[in-house]
């Protein structure tokens, strides 16, 4: 017999097996999820959840699909949080800190409380990546924020009203497009293809009888 624990979904008590995640516990209890459920594997950020263990002062945040239930867990899901996403033209933006001042000036109102970092469901150093963004160090901001799933919990805890995931998104796109080194072999290959350099080879493959294709495949050289 599996051991049961008591959890409180939006305050209502349910008894569920202790080996379930918060998400599967909700389903066990009878919820047919529409909101607050996406990839179920920790990548999409749909299932941001806030909880408190009874008697514990600390409010915790997690992804419901990645977190096991505990006894006396009080659970509230946060399937949507109104992040501010500023619209911009990636082809025409300044690649300096001024872009942050223009689009997300509230980051300069950060009071350093570190509530964002403490609440991050991915364990990221959120306040640090915001500090990098303030300085216009987009490469470091991109690196530090890379594992962000944009669940929005950090922003829900921020007294300055910062939309951290969107700030990081902007920094990563600037880094990927403008700051990362260009790729010569990629540019060359795109040109060669446009130039038709491979047309004959591909055309030959389009016509080749299956038996010859099999021979070609089964005897092909594999790079070590």
């Amino acid at each position: 017999m599996e051991k049961l624990v008591s959890i409180f979904l939006f305050g209502k008590k349910y008894e569920v097996p202790e080996n379930l995640t918060i998400m599967t516990a909700m389903e066990y209890a009878g919820y047919q999820l529409v909101r607050g459920c996406g990839c179920r594997n920790g990548f999409c950020g749909a299932c941001a959840t806030i909880y408190r263990i009874k008697g514990d002062k600390e409010l915790k945040a997690c992804l419901a699909c990645q977190t096991k239930v505990e006894d006396n867990m009080y659970i509230a899901t946060l399937p949507f949080f109104p992040l501010v996403k500023q619209v911009y033209d990636i082809e025409n933006i300044p690649v300096t800190e001024s872009v942050m001042m223009q689009l997300y000036p509230e980051i300069y109102a950060c009071i350093g409380c570190n509530a964002c970092t403490k609440s991050c469901t991915q364990g990221l150093n959120v306040m640090q990546y915001i500090a990098y963004a303030q300085r216009g160090d987009f490469e470091k901001c991109a690196e530090e924020s890379f594992d962000c799933v944009m669940c929005g919990v950090c922003s829900s805890r921020c007294p300055a009203g910062i939309s951290h995931p969107q700030v990081a998104m902007l920094a990563r796109r600037i880094n990927g497009k403008y700051l990362a080194p260009g790729c010569g072999h990629l540019e060359d290959r795109v040109k060669e293809i446009k130039n038709g350099d491979f047309n004959e080879l591909i055309e030959a493959l389009m016509q080749k009888p299956i038996e010859e294709m099999k021979e070609l495949y089964n005897t092909r050289e594999i790079e070590k």
Partner: protein, 534 residues
């Protein structure tokens, strides 16, 4: 930390580790692979398939669960909505908010068309988001689109539609360039050279990645761009029936708000189905690595208006789904783990196959190890084999795992398993729908005009098995192309009167074929509730 019952087997894995790292296992011959697949791959289990009795693929066999939803009732009747008063009117209607849908939307917008996305969950709730390992493109000097073609054609059992595959491989480098220009952060060396690795069945190292968040990095960037272009995204709204015009051409869709159940009508000059895969159908009872909404909706929508399916009988079981712990049972362990050097090892510590065989072969090989050969590890809720992740640190140096596959490290860390020091248990998981709607190279279905398809809902690009990294590639290549072509086509479309007459026609076919079913489709979401709800 694993419990006591695993320790004996782990000790065997550890004892053999040095020897196993040095070992270069032989690759299987074509004949060995054929025999293995026939005996152990789920696609070959005849009693799990049913013959379609109606529709454009009548007489063909598909998984039993798919046959049920393809031959099910519509959720509505023709008089449920008023087609003369559409709630939305657009040039291009895109159904689905994953990588293919978002790419199509960006390109259709770029081409000047009026475009909108409808998606039953949120934009980005898609298998794209979960693709970890990478995206293929033949852009290195020792590689070419032709070599890429041969790898994919052979890996797909020589069944791919060649004109689709040629487009896939020839447009691949440009797809990478397009993503780079949007700001996707690919792993590069200091001089800009792409860091590329092998995937199962590749003959050149052409797997590009963004750590092991490759799909997530691509998806969030595409989503950001969709928002920057102010493309309308109608979320939590499912397409439940296509609308045709009186000439039989695609002309929109009936939509349903997933929360309020309100029905809405979207009228469009061209429609793109980009609804993704089917893992949540749990064919043959397999767990899945797919996102919550992967229920083959696009196949159902298309089939009911007469669009043909191709290779719907072939599914991809990813060889390395999580077998333990049970909280993440079926979740994906990226193939990149093997690209980086980890080998598959049975319960006795023996390497039983080359780690980079194609996915179907690897999956069948693991199933054989756990069944006929009885060399699996009992996990308490099933069987599995070891994937010896500590090998990666030994081969690539300490820190390789954290740098290259941080998501994997994090996923297991939550359950007290340090994959840098301990191996992990894996078993095949339902991963990809090889088949789907049949299209021509321009992305339009072969027999319904103005109906385009992109992404996992397409059949034929990969044949009967897909190589790692070719799906992220196909959603970009065929997503972009569907957007461009649907926008161009929309310029010359004059819609006739809208109709849902196909619903009644399909109902009659169900009846005259003697199909006795209460199922309605598309399924939209799986039901995992354990209670008996009303």
């Amino acid at each position: 930390m694993y419990s006591e019952k695993f320790q004996k087997s782990i000790a065997a894995v550890e004892a053999a580790r040095e020897k196993n790292i040095a070992l270069e296992p032989e690759r299987m011959t074509a004949k060995q692979k054929e025999d293995l697949l026939a005996a152990f791959h789920p696609d070959y289990k005849k009693d799990e398939f049913a013959e379609l009795k109606i529709g454009p693929n009548k007489g063909e066999k598909v998984p039993t669960e798919l046959a049920e939803i393809l031959q099910a009732h519509s959720r509505i009747t023709a008089d449920s909505v008023d087609l003369t008063k559409p709630d939305y009117e657009t040039d291009v209607l895109i159904i689905g908010g994953g990588g293919a849908g978002a790419s199509a939307a960006i390109e259709a917008n770029e081409a000047g068309a009026d475009v909108m996305i409808v998606t039953k969950l949120r934009i980005g709730d898609a298998n794209t988001m979960m693709a970890e390992g990478g995206i293929q493109a033949a852009d290195k000097p020792n590689d070419s689109p032709a070599i890429h073609f041969v790898d994919a054609f052979g890996g797909g059992h020589f069944a791919a539609k060649r004109e689709l595959l040629a487009k896939l491989v020839c447009d691949a480098p440009e797809a990478i360039q397009w993503l780079s220009n949007l700001g996707v952060e690919f792993d590069k060396d200091a001089d800009g050279t792409m860091v590329t690795t092998h995937g199962g069945g590749t003959s050149r190292k052409r797997m590009h990645a963004a750590k092991d968040y490759s799909g997530a990095e691509i998806m969030r960037t595409l989503r950001d761009e969709v928002f920057n272009r102010n493309i309308p995204v109608i979320d939590f709204t499912a397409a439940i029936e296509l609308i045709l015009d009186e000439n039989g051409n695609a002309a929109g869709a009936v939509l349903m708000n997933m929360e309020t159940k309100e029905l809405l009508v979207a009228k469009a000059k061209t429609v793109i189905i980009a609804t993704g895969g089917a893992g949540r159908m749990h064919y043959q009872g397999f767990p899945t690595s797919n996102h919550y909404g992967a229920t083959a909706d696009g196949l159902v929508l298309g089939y009911r208006v007469g669009a043909k399916l191709l290779y719907a009988e072939t599914l991809q079981y990813h060889p390395t789904g999580v077998a333990y712990p049970e909280q993440i049972f079926g979740a994906l362990v990226t193939e990149k783990v093997r690209s980086l050097g980890a080998k598959l090892v049975n319960g006795n510590g023996e390497v039983f196959m080359h780690p980079l065989e194609t996915r179907d072969v690897a999956a069948a090989s693991i199933i054989r190890e756990c069944s006929e050969r009885e060399n699996g590890v009992d996990t308490g809720s099933g069987l599995g084999v070891w994937l010896d992740t500590p090998m990666i640190e030994k081969i690539g140096g300490e820190g390789t795992i954290e740098k290259r596959i941080p998501a994997m490290m994090r996923m297991f860390e939550k359950y007290g398993i340090d994959i840098r020091k301990e191996p992990i248990l894996v078993y095949p998981t339902l991963h990809y729908q090889n088949g789907g709607l049949d299209i021509t190279a321009d992305g339009m279905t072969t027999n319904v005009q103005n109906l385009f398809v992109a992404g996992e809902a397409v059949g034929g690009i990969h044949g009967k098995n897909r190589l790692m990294g070719n799906s992220l590639l196909d959603i970009i290549v065929f997503g972009r192309s569907a957007g461009i072509n649907a926008a161009a086509k929309a310029k010359n479309v004059t819609l006739g009167k809208l109709t849902l007459a196909h619903i009644e026609k399909f109902e009659k076919e169900i009846e005259s074929a003697g199909i006795n079913t209460e199922t309605v489709s598309p399924k939209l979401l799986p039901n995992y509730t354990k209670t008996k709800n009303i």
